[in-house]
């Protein structure tokens, strides 16, 4: 393996694990939210949309700061988790995962919402007219018609997770195997003047991100479109 030592591989695996879990969790909770935003009207909808989009404009350090306060065993939530479940979120994979889920939310929900909105209303109505339930319509009609949006949502979320840095440096504590993901490792190696290792991580992240984005851009232009 040569240059690829175990630490290097472990760090990349951890990065993939964080991005993978974040994407999976967001897929499950993001789809219903995107559905509501696309097809339902409810009070404060704009507010809800704004709230979900906040991570796109908010400095990661704002979330990092709030998380640090929330996770503290001195605080309400932190002490509750500590007492009830003996769980400590700061400096743990779980804590970083929660921050990551919150921070990547718009990257999952927005493409899904756009995909749902883009499907012609007539398709849904035809399905309802044929007596299909809303759920069956969702699974059999909507999902097959928004595959590119689903791929984009999943890929964007995954890519965004890999690129996460600000929150993790604030609540992570740089623990190998737990919170020391690749972006943190790069920062760390640069500070320690291990430019060669920093270079290896950087190159891997660069290539992975480039591949993911290329996939997204290539599916954004489907050869045929319906209408």
């Amino acid at each position: 393996m040569g240059m690829m030592d175990q630490d290097f591989i472990d760090t990349l695996l951890l990065t993939g694990k964080l991005a993978g879990w974040t994407t999976a969790i967001l897929f499950v909770i993001g789809f219903p939210i995107a559905y509501l935003l696309a097809y339902r009207r409810f009070p404060l909808k704009s507010f809800a949309e704004a709230l979900i989009s906040m991570p796109m404009v908010l400095p990661p350090t704002v979330l990092g700061f709030y998380m640090l306060m929330a996770y503290s065993p001195q605080g309400g939530l932190g002490s509750f988790l500590q007492r009830m479940f003996d769980v400590r979120l700061a400096f743990s994979f779980g804590g970083v995962l929660i921050a990551s889920v919150i921070f990547s939310m718009p990257f999952m929900i927005q493409p899904l919402q756009n995909g749902l909105t883009a499907i012609p209303k007539s398709l849904r109505e035809a399905s309802y007219t044929l007596g299909k339930s809303e759920f069956i319509t969702f699974v059999r009609v909507l999902i097959p018609n928004m595959i590119p949006s689903i791929i984009t949502a999943v890929a964007m979320t995954f890519a965004h997770c890999i690129g996460e840095f600000g929150v993790i440096i604030m609540v992570g504590g740089n623990i190998p195997g737990e919170t020391r993901v690749a972006s943190i490792a790069i920062y760390d190696e640069v500070q320690a003047m291990n430019y060669q290792t920093a270079n290896q991580y950087s190159l891997v992240l660069f290539l992975i991100s480039l591949v993911i984005l290329t996939v997204i851009f290539s599916i954004k232009r489907p050869p045929t479109s319906f209408d």
């Binding site: 640090l68 306060m69 996770y71 503290s72 065993p73 001195q74 605080g75 932190g78 400590r88 700061a90 400096f91 440096i169 609540v171 504590g173 740089n174 623990i175 760390d188 640069v190 500070q191 320690a192 003047m193």
Partner: protein
């Protein structure tokens, strides 16, 4: 060409180890009082991080490290001017907002309630390096290893302990003495016999235009005029 040397004082950009956060602000205030035209900018970070920034061309005139090794790294690369001078000796402290560390001392490390111990990254922060050395020499390191979380610099380490996310933090005494920190928690000054002295040294950075103000500021930092300030913030001074 001489016209470029304007009459107003030159600006001094200081790269300072994070443990100097409070003491150096006070020294700066004293210096500016004496030299009302002087402009001193302070930037704080882990010594290793600052060395890395200076190597990559950051615009600093004066480097105050948390040890006497990081300045030599710059000197070896020909990036400095003049000699390296020790300006103070730092002290290591253990800080906690939940444990009476002043009574427990090092026994606090084995207290059952301790889930996380914050230490500054030993690669870039000398205080973190000393903390790890101390744990190793006391044969505590292997047992506590899984509880250690690394702060990016000594300030972040203090903040981990200050927010209670880590029950214990190995920090600089100077930070434990800061009003907010001292008001909220307890600290224990680690006996200096237990670790290698933290000899903190400074050096001028080579600049294209000679920065006489920087040399003047360095002289002030090393002068007896600052002795009381260093002592107030828990440092052992070079003036006895």
């Amino acid at each position: 060409m001489l016209i470029t040397l304007s009459v107003s004082a030159q600006k001094v950009n200081v790269a300072a180890a994070a443990n100097l956060r409070y003491v150096l602000e006070e020294i700066k205030t004293a210096y500016v009082k004496q030299n009302p035209k002087a402009k001193v900018n302070l930037t704080f970070g882990a010594s290793g991080m600052l060395v890395q920034q200076i190597q990559n061309g950051a615009n600093f005139d004066f480097f105050m490290a948390a040890d006497n090794e990081f300045p030599l790294k710059l000197k070896d690369k020909g990036l400095t001017s003049g000699t390296m001078s020790t300006y103070a000796f730092g002290k290591l402290a253990i800080y906690s907002i939940s444990l009476n560390v002043d009574k427990l001392g090092l026994n606090a490390l084995n207290d059952g309630s301790v889930k996380k111990i914050a230490i500054a990254n030993p690669e870039t922060a000398p205080y973190g390096e000393r903390a790890i050395e101390l744990l190793k020499s006391k044969k505590l390191y292997d047992g506590l290893k899984s509880k250690i979380v690394l702060g990016e610099n000594i300030s972040q380490t203090a903040q981990f302990a200050f927010t209670g996310n880590a029950e214990l933090g190995f920090i600089a005494l100077s930070l434990a003495l800061a009003p907010d920190m001292a008001g909220k928690g307890d600290y224990y000054v680690v006996p200096q016999s237990l670790y290698k002295p933290i000899e903190q040294a400074c050096i001028l950075i080579k600049t294209t235009v000679l920065n006489t103000e920087a040399a003047k500021f360095k002289k002030f930092v090393l002068s007896p005029a600052t002795k009381a300030i260093w002592e107030k913030w828990g440092y052992k001074t070079i003036h006895n």
